[in-house]
C-alpha cells in the first residue's frame, strides 16, 4: 500500500469540498477567480481520478481497491470505509467528467440571477456527494453522501430555475426525502439483523441470517429509497418538473449522475444483501420497469416542451436499466451498468443542447422552433447525433445500453418466471420503436424545416468554444463506447460476476 493507494479515494471525494471552502472564502466580486478556483478544483479532482483509473488493477476489478477503512463513529459501528471496484469505477469516472463539463459550459453564461460564486459552490458540493456515494462501502456513509446531493440540487433548481421553480424544487426534495427516510430504517434493520453496516461484509453473507419474510420487508424500504431516485414509474412525477425547471447544468447533473444513484443503490446494496427479497420483488420491478418504458415513451409524444421530452425519455430509458437489473442475472446487470453510463453521456448531451437552444431562442416550445440545421448547423448536427445515440442506433453507446438489457430478459435468473420476463422483453422492444418515434419527431420539429417567422431574422449563435469543450468529450465517448463496448463491460463484468455469479 503506497501513499496514493490509501489516499486516492479520500482526495477524490473531498478535494471538491476544499475547493468549496476556497470558493466561499473568495469575495463575490472576483468572479474570474471564483471560476478559476472551481475549475481547477474539478480538474485536480479528475487528475486524482485518472490516477485511480491508471493504477486500478483491471485483472482484479471484481474486488475492492484503494480501500480506506478507518474508524468514524465507533459508538454506532459506522466506519469511514471507501473502496472502488469494477461496478463503481465507470460511474465514478462519469461523475467527475460531468462536473468539469458543467463548469466549462457555465463559464460564460450563468443562468439568472447569475451569482457564479454560489452556483459553483453548489456544483462542488454536488460532486462531493456524487463521488462519495459511488465509493462508500458503509451504509451510513452511503446514506450521508446520498443525502448530501439533495440540498445543492434543491437550491440550484430553486434559485436558478425556471418560472415554476419553487414547486419543482420542493417536490424533488420531498419525494427523495420520503424514500431515503424509509431507506434509513431499512439500513438500521439490516444492522440489527446482521450486525454490521459494512457493505462488502453484508454482501458476503448473501442474505444468510435473515428470514425470507423479513428480507421482503426490508427490501421494500430500500426499494422505495432507490426507486424514487431512479425514478421508476409511479414515483417519477418529480422528474419532469425538476428537469424542466432546473437550469441547464442542473438538468445535466441530475440526468447524468443523480438518477444513477438510485440504480447504483440497487446493484450495490439491495440486490447483493437481500437476494431472496430481491427474488420476490424482481417481477414487480420488471413490471414497473416496462410500464415506465412505455409510459415514458407515450408521455414524450404528448409533450410540447423540448426539455420535458428529454425528461420523459429518461423515465423510459431508466426503465431499460431497471429491466436489466430485475433479471438478476450477470448479463442483465452488466447491461444495466452500461445503460447507466450511456444514458449519462447521451442525455447529458441532449440537455446541454436543449439548454443552448433555449439560450438562443428563449423558448423550448417545439411548436415555435424549427430550422435549427439552417440557423446553427453544427448545433443541429450535434443534436442529431445525440438523438440517434439516444434512440439506440447501433454503433453508438445507447445501443449497448438498451439491446442487451432487452435480451437479458429472455432468460432471467433461476426462480423467476421465464414467460413473464419474455413478455416484458416484448413490451420493452415495442418501447424502442416508440423511443425512435418521439426522438425523431422532436428532432424533426426542432431541426428540420425553416425557422419560424419570429426567429427568421434572429441572430443565432452556433456552437461556441465553451460548448465545444463541454460537448466533445461526450460525443467522443458515445462513439467510442458504441464501437467498442468492451471498455465498460470489461471493467464491470468481473465485479458483477463476483457479486451476482452465484
Amino acid at each position: 500500500m503506497d501513499w496514493f493507494d490509501s489516499w486516492a479515494l479520500t482526495l477524490a471525494v473531498f478535494l471538491p469540498a476544499v475547493g468549496l471552502v476556497l470558493v466561499l472564502a473568495t469575495p463575490k466580486a472576483q468572479e474570474q477567480t471564483v471560476k478559476v478556483i472551481a475549475l481547477l478544483t474539478t480538474i485536480v479532482t479528475a487528475a486524482v481520478g485518472i490516477g485511480i483509473l491508471t493504477k486500478f488493477n483491471y485483472n482484479r476489478s471484481g474486488s475492492l481497491q484503494f480501500v480506506v477503512n478507518k474508524s468514524w463513529i465507533p459508538v454506532i459501528d459506522a466506519r469511514y470505509h471507501l473502496g472502488i471496484d469494477g461496478i463503481a469505477l465507470p460511474m465514478f469516472a462519469l461523475s467527475m467528467l460531468i462536473t468539469i463539463l458543467c463548469i466549462i459550459y457555465s463559464w460564460n453564461h450563468f443562468p439568472e440571477p447569475h451569482n457564479p460564486k454560489a452556483f459553483l459552490a453548489l456544483i462542488l458540493l454536488l460532486e462531493v456527494g456524487m463521488n462519495g456515494t459511488f465509493v462508500a462501502q458503509d451504509l451510513i456513509l452511503f446514506f450521508i453522501f446520498f443525502e448530501v446531493v439533495l440540498l445543492p440540487m434543491f437550491f440550484m433548481i430553486g434559485v436558478w430555475g425556471g418560472p415554476n421553480r419553487e414547486y419543482a424544487s420542493i417536490k424533488f426534495f420531498l419525494f427523495t426525502l420520503f424514500g431515503s427516510a424509509l431507506m434509513l430504517l431499512s439500513f438500521l434493520a439490516l444492522y440489527f439483523k446482521l450486525g454490521s453496516f459494512q457493505i462488502p461484509e453484508l454482501a458476503r453473507l448473501h442474505g444468510a441470517g435473515i428470514a425470507h419474510g423479513t428480507q421482503v420487508l426490508i427490501f421494500a424500504g430500500l426499494f422505495l429509497g432507490f426507486a424514487i431516485k431512479v425514478p421508476m414509474f409511479p414515483f417519477h412525477t418529480w422528474l419532469p418538473d425538476a428537469h424542466t425547471e432546473a437550469p441547464t447544468v442542473g438538468s445535466v447533473i441530475l440526468a447524468a449522475v443523480l438518477l444513477k444513484l438510485g440504480t447504483f443503490g440497487f446493484i450495490r446494496i439491495a440486490l447483493p444483501i437481500l437476494p431472496s427479497g430481491a427474488q420476490t420483488w424482481a417481477p414487480w420491478i420488471g413490471l414497473l420497469a416496462v410500464i415506465g418504458i412505455i409510459y415514458g415513451a407515450l408521455a414524450c409524444l404528448a409533450q410540447t416542451d423540448m426539455k420535458r421530452v428529454i425528461a420523459f425519455s429518461s423515465v423510459s430509458h431508466m426503465g431499460f436499466v431497471m429491466l436489466g437489473i430485475a433479471t438478476l442475472t450477470t448479463f442483465g446487470i452488466n447491461a444495466a451498468i452500461f445503460g447507466m453510463v450511456a444514458h449519462g453521456l447521451i442525455t447529458g448531451l441532449l440537455f446541454f443542447v436543449a439548454g443552448s437552444v433555449q439560450h438562443n431562442y428563449h423558448t423550448r416550445e417545439m411548436s415555435r422552433l424549427g430550422g435549427l440545421l439552417q440557423q446553427a448547423p453544427r448545433m443541429g448536427w450535434i443534436l442529431g447525433f445525440a438523438v440517434m445515440a439516444s434512440l439506440g442506433l447501433p454503433g453508438l453507446a445507447g445501443f449497448w445500453g438498451e439491446f442487451p438489457a432487452i435480451l437479458s430478459a429472455y432468460s432471467p435468473a433461476a426462480g423467476l418466471s421465464e414467460g413473464l420476463f419474455r413478455g416484458f422483453m416484448a413490451v420493452a422492444a415495442i418501447g424502442t420503436v416508440l423511443s425512435a418515434g418521439y426522438l425523431l419527431w422532436m428532432y424533426q420539429r426542432v431541426a428540420f424545416g425553416v425557422p419560424k417567422d419570429e426567429f427568421a431574422e434572429a441572430h443565432i449563435h452556433d456552437v461556441g468554444p465553451a460548448e465545444w469543450m463541454a460537448w466533445t468529450p461526450l460525443i467522443l465517448l458515445t462513439l467510442a463506447l458504441g464501437i467498442y463496448p468492451q471498455i465498460i463491460f470489461g471493467v464491470t463484468d468481473r465485479a458483477v460476476t463476483r457479486i451476482f455469479g452465484g
Binding site: 459508538v75 430504517l185 444492522y191
Partner: protein, 489 residues
C-alpha cells in the same frame, strides 16, 4: 442520618448560586449606563461553573449525596455542562435585545440563571421531592420571564397562560407523586424502582404513573397538553422563547428520563403505551400545524412540539430490554443536538429581526441579498432541524431510529415509520423559510444595505453553528458523550 457534604460535587451549583447573588447585589451599585456589566458578571459566572464540572468529570466515579436524593455521575455532569452552555448562549443572544429594549437587565440575568440552577439540580435529582422542587425552580423564573415586556398585552397573556398551565400541571404531577409514595413507601427513585420491580404493576400504580407523566407532558408541551406553548412562545421576548424551547424543555425531558429510567422502568407496560401515543401525536400534530404558520416564532413553537415528539420516540420503545440503553442514549444525544440547533435558529431569527422588525416568514424574503452569511447560517440550522446530512440534526434522528429498530417490536416499527413520515413533513415547513430567504424577493421597505449584527449574537451563532457542522460530519464526539452519560444507567 449523617448528611455527607461533598463540596466538590456541589461546586457547580455553588458557583451558579454565588453568581446569582453577586449579580443581584451588583445590579444596585452599577450606574444605569453600566448595567451591561451585570451581563458580564453573569456570563463569567456561568463559564466559571464549567470548571468544577470538568474536574469532576476527570475524577470520574459516582458521588451520591443527601441519602441518594442527589447524585453526581457522568449523566448528571453531561447535562449540567449542557445547561450551563445553553445558559451562556442564552445570555449572548439576550444581551443586546434586553439592553436595547430598555428592560431591567440585572433581574433578567438573575432569573435566567435561577432557572438554570433548577435544571442543574434536576440533572442530579434521584428523588421525587428533589425532582419536584427542581422542576418548580425551573418553571417559576420562566413565568416571570415570559411576561418580561410588561406593557405588551401579548407578553402578559403569555405569562398568565404559562403560569396557570404550569401550576395545573404541577398539581396533577404532585397528585401522581403522592400516590406513588403511598404505594411504594419511598420517594427515592431507587426505592420506587425496587417496588415497581417486585410488585408487578397494580392498577393504582398505573394511574399514578399516568398522572405523573401527564404532568411532565405539560412541561415538555407534548400533544395534547401543548396548547399553551404557541401563545407563550409567541408573546414572550424572543430570547426567552429560545430559552423556554431549549433549556426549559430539556429540563422537563431530563426529569422524564430520571423518573422513567431510574424509577418506573420495570412498569413499562403502563408507561410505554402512554408515551407511544404522546410521541405519535406530538410529531404529527406539531408538524401539520407548523405547516400552516406564517409567523416564524409560532412555526418554531410547533416545530419544537414536533421535535419533542421525536425525543419521546425512544421512550416509547425503551421498555424492550434490548433497547433500554440505546433509548436512554438516544434521548440524551437528541436533547444535546436539538439544544444547539434550536438555539442557533433563534439566534438567527433575532439577528434577522433586527432588520425586518417582523416575525412574519414572508418578511425574511431575500435575506440572502443583504446578509448572505446570516442566510447561510439560518438555512444550516433549518436543515439541521429537518435532519438533513451533513448537519448535526441527522444524527439526532438517526439515534432515534436506531433505538426503534433495536427494540424491533411491531409497535416500535410502526412508530418508526410514523417518525420517518413526519421527518418528511417537517422538511416542508423548514424549507419554506429557506425558500423565502433564497428564492423570493425582498419585501418593500426592507433596507438592502449589509446587515450588521452585534458581536454577542455573532458569537452565539458561531458557537452553535460550528457545533452543528462538526457534529454533523463527525458525530462520534456527541455519540461518545451520550455513551459516557448513558453508562450511568
Amino acid at each position: 442520618m449523617k448528611v455527607h457534604w461533598d463540596l466538590h460535587a456541589l461546586a457547580p451549583l455553588v458557583a451558579v448560586t454565588v453568581t446569582i447573588v453577586v449579580v443581584l447585589i451588583a445590579d444596585f451599585f452599577f450606574e444605569y449606563r453600566e448595567r451591561f456589566k451585570t451581563y458580564q458578571l453573569a456570563a463569567f459566572g456561568t463559564l466559571a461553573a464549567l470548571i468544577p464540572i470538568i474536574t469532576l468529570a476527570r475524577d470520574g466515579g459516582t458521588r451520591s449525596l443527601f441519602g441518594g436524593a442527589f447524585v453526581v455521575d457522568t449523566y448528571t455532569l453531561a447535562f449540567q455542562g449542557f445547561f450551563l452552555i445553553v445558559a451562556y448562549v442564552t445570555l449572548l443572544i439576550s444581551v443586546d435585545h434586553i439592553g436595547e429594549g430598555d428592560y431591567y437587565q440585572g433581574e433578567f440575568y438573575v432569573l435566567v440563571l435561577t432557572s438554570t440552577l433548577g435544571m442543574m439540580i434536576m440533572a442530579g435529582a434521584r428523588d421525587l421531592i428533589t425532582i419536584f422542587v427542581a422542576l418548580e425552580m425551573i418553571s417559576i423564573p420562566t413565568f416571570v420571564l415570559a411576561g418580561w415586556r410588561k406593557h405588551d398585552t401579548r407578553s402578559n397573556e403569555a405569562a398568565v397562560k404559562y403560569f396557570i398551565i404550569g401550576v395545573l400541571s404541577s398539581a396533577v404531577m404532585l397528585y401522581g407523586i403522592s400516590m406513588v409514595y403511598g404505594l411504594s413507601g419511598s420517594t427515592s427513585l431507587s426505592g420506587i424502582a425496587e417496588y415497581a420491580g417486585s410488585a408487578g404493576t397494580p392498577a393504582l400504580l398505573s394511574i399514578a404513573i399516568f398522572l405523573t407523566i401527564v404532568g411532565f407532558a405539560f412541561k415538555i408541551s407534548a400533544v395534547p397538553f401543548h396548547f399553551w406553548a404557541p401563545d407563550t412562545y409567541d408573546g414572550a421576548p424572543i430570547p426567552v422563547t429560545a430559552f423556554l424551547s431549549v433549556a426549559s424543555k430539556a429540563g422537563g425531558f431530563v426529569a422524564l428520563l430520571n423518573v422513567i429510567f431510574f424509577g418506573f422502568y420495570a412498569s413499562h407496560t403502563s408507561w410505554q403505551p402512554i408515551i407511544w401515543v404522546l410521541a405519535a401525536l406530538s410529531m404529527t400534530v406539531g408538524n401539520l400545524v407548523a405547516i400552516r404558520q406564517t409567523s416564524i416564532v409560532r412555526m418554531l413553537a410547533y416545530s419544537s412540539i414536533a421535535q419533542g415528539g421525536f425525543m419521546l420516540v425512544p421512550f416509547a420503545v425503551a421498555g424492550v430490554g434490548s433497547s433500554k440503553h440505546a433509548s436512554f442514549e438516544a434521548v440524551i444525544v437528541y436533547i444535546l443536538i436539538y439544544g444547539a440547533m434550536n438555539l442557533g435558529m433563534f439566534a438567527c431569527v433575532i439577528a434577522a429581526m433586527r432588520r425586518t422588525q417582523s416575525d412574519e416568514i414572508s418578511s425574511f424574503g431575500g435575506m440572502s441579498k443583504y446578509s448572505p452569511i446570516l442566510a447561510v447560517m439560518t438555512s444550516a440550522f433549518l436543515f439541521s432541524l429537518a435532519g438533513i446530512p451533513p448537519l448535526a440534526g441527522w444524527f439526532a434522528k438517526f439515534v432515534m431510529f436506531r433505538s426503534v429498530l433495536d427494540a424491533g417490536t411491531t409497535p416500535a416499527v410502526i412508530l418508526g415509520v410514523i417518525a420517518a413520515l413526519n421527518s418528511v413533513i417537517a422538511f416542508f415547513y423548514y424549507a419554506g423559510v429557506a425558500r423565502a430567504i433564497w428564492f423570493r424577493e425582498t419585501p418593500e421597505g426592507i433596507d438592502l444595505r449589509p446587515l450588521k449584527t452585534p458581536f454577542a449574537l455573532n458569537a452565539a451563532i458561531a458557537i452553535t453553528g460550528s457545533f452543528v457542522l462538526i457534529v454533523g460530519i463527525y458525530p462520534q464526539v456527541i455519540a461518545r458523550l451520550g455513551e459516557l452519560a448513558g453508562a450511568a444507567l
